[in-house]
């Protein structure tokens, strides 16, 4: 009885939100011309929540997918808490990734006629709390997240069959909106969702994105973690989708920093050791990962990379406990929570099993729950609608939703975006670039990063780097093998975001497996600003770039760094017998963090422990070297 009531309530509420949509026109992608090489970098967010996500709505978000798409395309919208919101520069693509579990449910519970819920005391209580006040709504959301983590949600929310009709209805409408805003060549809107596996509060979420238009999806609807928490079941769903429709779909593991070591674990979900089938499937289904977002940065951690003085970015507040803060995370678990270590594990597994499950490219995305894909420090709309730009206390407030402890507003990063080198701004071209990992992550600024590897480059090739890169080598995300024992060479360039800060340096991060079978890492400084006065020390370290941040004004001096850095680099420590990967990290000069702009705007005094100055950055996808068999 309870179940059918829930369904009735949700159906009625969906009817309330229904409105006519105009169908997308015929396929216009035929008109878009693809360039010979991926000549342009396209900027997007693959991880954005709207009011269809149970938590986003519960946090108070009242902006729907259409508002999210309009905002990403550069239109001004009114944010949930009433302020006008606009991106200074539009994005090129967007994946709205609402939680598949109980998609649209909080909206439905709140909007359902109270009558329809009278027999369900559990949902009725939530209904009343949500309608009563914002605080009540937040409490419901906290209970939801907590309930999901502990597996104590009522059957009416967790039964996939029960919610199927509601989800199918919602998914169809969502598809119509997405199509309406997808304009090949100008702006790409992808179909996607977030699979929210969270065993005991450990974050194993994946964003799932489709290459296909909604009308090609048939009766496929988003797959929920309530169906199974085991990512292998998600991959099976993806395979079934592709088989049934001839379509294509990929999954993006994200936010591995709060996975309690499980995102890149050395065993399967059930604890058994990784086998060849698992490796093959994972590598196929998960070609890229989200390495930076609002909930911190997952590149690496000072515990894992003690010799990397830039390893502490975006780890404060996020390395204490898992997503729901139901478990403390010991440093011994960090290895499975950070991308660099995962890339190293991937090399070790390659040797042990013959294939690499963690052979991924890297992107950033926001994971914003405000429907607003903001990643700029001076225009940050926060993680959720209680944290929007007009909340003067948001930087210093504790974020103790439910059982969350120990995190404060300022721990959130205004990060990040996904950069994709593609041949056109279309679903097909961008998706395919992700499959070949020709992508990189940034913490918000739109710097342009090129990274090519090969054995035939010379230093002169930096003059026409792109052409040489594609004709004589492979781009980021690619593979190198052979080379007759000679060390691989790399062409690297980084151009500053003309609307942001100039560049401090380019680094190459190398991981390899040594003769004893243990993986190692090393950070090389390969190009930097003011090279005339800044020299490498004997230890390979470089003096820091001067800090020019004026905290009272929120400004810095771009003359300190370089507008562009271009270099040729060859691995000085190469051993042709050792598996290795190389990726590029680009650092901006120091700039203020978003709480500094809040402090200016609201006349706040920030405590000493608030991080006020940072060096924003980009992470390229790796290039892998494999010795000849």
């Amino acid at each position: 009885m309870r179940k059918s009531l829930m369904l009735a309530a949700c159906t009625a509420a969906l009817a309330l939100s229904g409105c006519s949509k105009i169908n997308g026109d015929e396929d216009r992608s035929a008109e878009v011309v693809n360039t010979e090489y991926p000549e342009q970098v396209f900027w997007g967010d693959t991880h954005l929540h709207t009011d269809n996500s149970i938590d986003a709505f519960g946090f108070g978000n009242r902006l729907d997918a259409e508002n999210a798409l309009r905002f990403a395309r550069g239109e001004e919208v009114t944010a949930t808490k009433g302020s006008k919101a606009r991106l200074s520069r539009p994005l090129d693509f967007l994946v709205i990734a609402d939680h598949s579990d109980a998609m649209g449910a909080t909206k439905a519970i709140m909007e359902a006629p109270r009558f329809a819920l009278l027999a369900n005391k559990f949902l009725l209580r939530w209904h009343d709390m949500m309608n009563e006040s914002d605080e009540g709504s937040m409490r419901v959301t906290a209970e939801l997240i907590d309930g999901a983590a502990k597996g104590t949600l009522p059957a009416s929310l967790t039964d996939p069959e029960e919610s199927r009709e509601r989800t199918a209805d919602l998914w169809k409408k969502h598809g119509a909106t997405v199509d309406q805003y997808n304009e090949p060549g100008k702006f790409t809107a992808f179909m996607g969702f977030e699979y929210t596996s969270m065993p005991d509060g450990d974050n194993l979420h994946r964003v799932v994105m489709f290459r296909d238009s909604p009308d090609k999806m048939g009766d496929t609807i988003p797959y929920g973690a309530l169906g199974s928490q085991d990512p292998e079941k998600l991959w099976a769903y993806m395979a079934a989708y592709e088989q049934k429709t001839g379509g294509k779909v990929l999954a993006i593991p994200h936010n591995s920093n709060v996975s309690n070591g499980r995102m890149f674990a050395m065993n399967k979900f059930d604890g058994s050791p990784i086998d060849a089938a698992y490796v093959k499937t994972r590598a196929l289904r998960e070609p890229i990962v989200e390495v930076t977002q609002i909930k911190g940065d997952s590149e690496t951690h000072p515990f894992l990379s003690p010799n990397d003085e830039f390893a502490n970015f975006g780890v404060a507040g996020w390395d204490k406990c898992n997503l729901s803060c139901t478990r403390d995370m010991a440093p011994e678990t960090y290895a499975g929570s950070y991308a660099r270590e995962a890339l190293k594990r991937g090399l070790e597994l390659t040797l042990a099993i013959g294939a690499n499950p963690f052979k991924f490219g890297m992107i950033g995305s926001t994971d914003s729950h405000t429907s607003l894909a903001t990643a700029d420090e001076n225009n940050f709309f926060g993680k959720h609608s209680g944290n929007e730009a007009n909340n003067s206390a948001r930087g210093l407030d504790p974020q103790n939703l439910g059982t969350r402890e120990g995190r404060f507003g300022w721990h959130y990063l205004a990060s990040g975006y996904a950069a994709v080198w593609a041949t056109s701004n279309t679903r097909e071209a961008i998706f395919d670039a992700m499959m070949r990992r020709e992508v990189y992550a940034t913490t918000g600024p739109r710097m342009q990063v090129r990274f090519f590897g090969g054995f035939d480059f010379s230093a002169d090739d930096t003059a026409d780097l792109v052409k040489a890169g594609y004709t004589k080598g492979v781009p980021m995300g690619g593979d190198l093998t052979g080379g007759d024992g000679e060390a691989p060479k790399f062409l690297i360039s980084a151009l500053m975001d003309p609307e942001s800060a100039s560049l401090d340096r380019i680094q190459v991060i190398k991981g390899w497996v040594d003769a004893t079978g243990k993986s190692q890492e090393k950070v090389y400084n390969v190009s930097w600003s003011d090279a005339g006065t800044r020299k490498l020390g004997a230890d390979g370290k470089l003096s820091p770039v001067p800090n020019t941040v004026d905290l009272a004004k929120g400004t810095w001096d771009n003359a300190t760094g370089a507008p562009e850095l271009v270099t040729f680099w060859q691995d000085p420590d190469f051993d042709a017998a050792q598996n290795a990967f190389y990726y590029v990290r680009v650092l901006e000069i120091p700039t203020p963090t978003w709480p500094v702009y809040d402090a200016m705007k609201f006349n706040l005094k920030l405590p000493d422990d608030v991080i006020k100055i940072q060096q924003e950055r980009a992470y390229s996808s790796p290039i892998w070297y494999t010795p000849k068999a």
Binding site: A15, I22, D25, N131, E499, E564
Partner: protein, 271 residues
């Protein structure tokens, strides 16, 4: 969807309630003519039966149906008495609930039709700035580096006096020349600040410095195609989206405005 919604028993019920409210608002008489009349008709009974079946998977017995009807009557009486006692007043849950319902009813009553081309054209004409095709530029640029404006001016003067660009050009992986480039395209390559400055440059000579985030540039525009009105066909999708979004917002505003004219509203501190 609308039809499905109209079948909802609750909608009938609320519709009735709204009529009661509407009557009070419209007449200001504070008196409902049907104040003490309750009639349970066939439709109501069918609704009650359907609700029972949905819950218990069988039809109600006559005794059960009678109990349902009595319950309905009791509910209606309490509902009306509650209104008379003003229990709905100052209850934030009820207020917000009715607000949401009204918003929905207003929105749904005037569903947005498929826009005709004539309508879209009219919309474009009313918003000329939004759909103008941007000016297109053919230009060359030389990156002079992070130097002072005075130094940059000096170099630009020398360029115009015949000094070759190679004397000053600093390396930067941006195109040295662009043809038929829109301001959006120029903004992608050089930043918006750079793109905005092209408008006021004199064509045919090296001018500037044009300042971008990278530093100073010398720019020579060889041709400019002024911005013009877009054809509907070029921007149709955007126009449809904008028209729809605006139409929806306007509908809400108009509904509120229509109610609002009937109220005298004073706000402390507002003139």
């Amino acid at each position: 969807m609308l039809r499905k919604f109209l079948k909802e028993p609750l909608v009938h019920f609320l519709g009735g309630a709204l009529l009661v409210f509407a009557f009070f608002w419209a007449t200001g008489s504070n008196r409902d003519p049907a104040e003490y009349t309750i009639s349970i008709d066939e439709t109501d009974i069918e609704r009650l039966k359907a609700g029972w079946v949905q819950n218990f998977r069988r039809a109600p017995t006559q005794a059960e149906l009678d109990a349902l009807i009595d319950q309905e009557i009791a509910e209606e009486i309490y509902y009306r008495e509650a209104l008379r006692l003003g229990l709905d007043k100052n209850d934030p849950v009820i207020r917000r609930r009715l607000f949401t319902k009204m918003r929905f009813v207003d929105g749904e009553d005037s569903a947005i039709p498929e826009p005709t081309d004539a309508l879209l054209q009219q919309w474009m004409d009313e918003n000329p700035g939004k759909y103008a095709l941007p000016s297109l530029y053919d230009f060359e640029q030389i990156y002079l580096g992070q130097i002072s404006v005075a130094d940059a001016r000096d170099r630009i003067d020398q360029l115009n006096d015949g000094t070759p660009p190679s004397a000053f050009a600093q390396p930067l992986s941006r195109p040295g020349a662009l043809a038929r480039a829109s301001s959006a395209e120029i903004g992608r390559q050089f930043g918006d600040r750079f793109a905005e400055q092209l408008e006021k440059l004199e064509p045919g000579v090296w001018s500037g410095p044009v300042i971008s985030g990278f530093g100073a540039h010398a720019v020579r525009i060889s041709a400019k195609v002024p911005g013009q009105k877009a054809d509907l066909a070029d921007v149709r999708q955007q126009v449809v989206n904008d028209w729809r979004a605006t139409r929806l917002a306007k509908q809400k505003e108009e509904a509120l405005a229509a109610y609002r004219t009937q109220y005298e509203v004073t706000v402390a501190g507002r003139p």
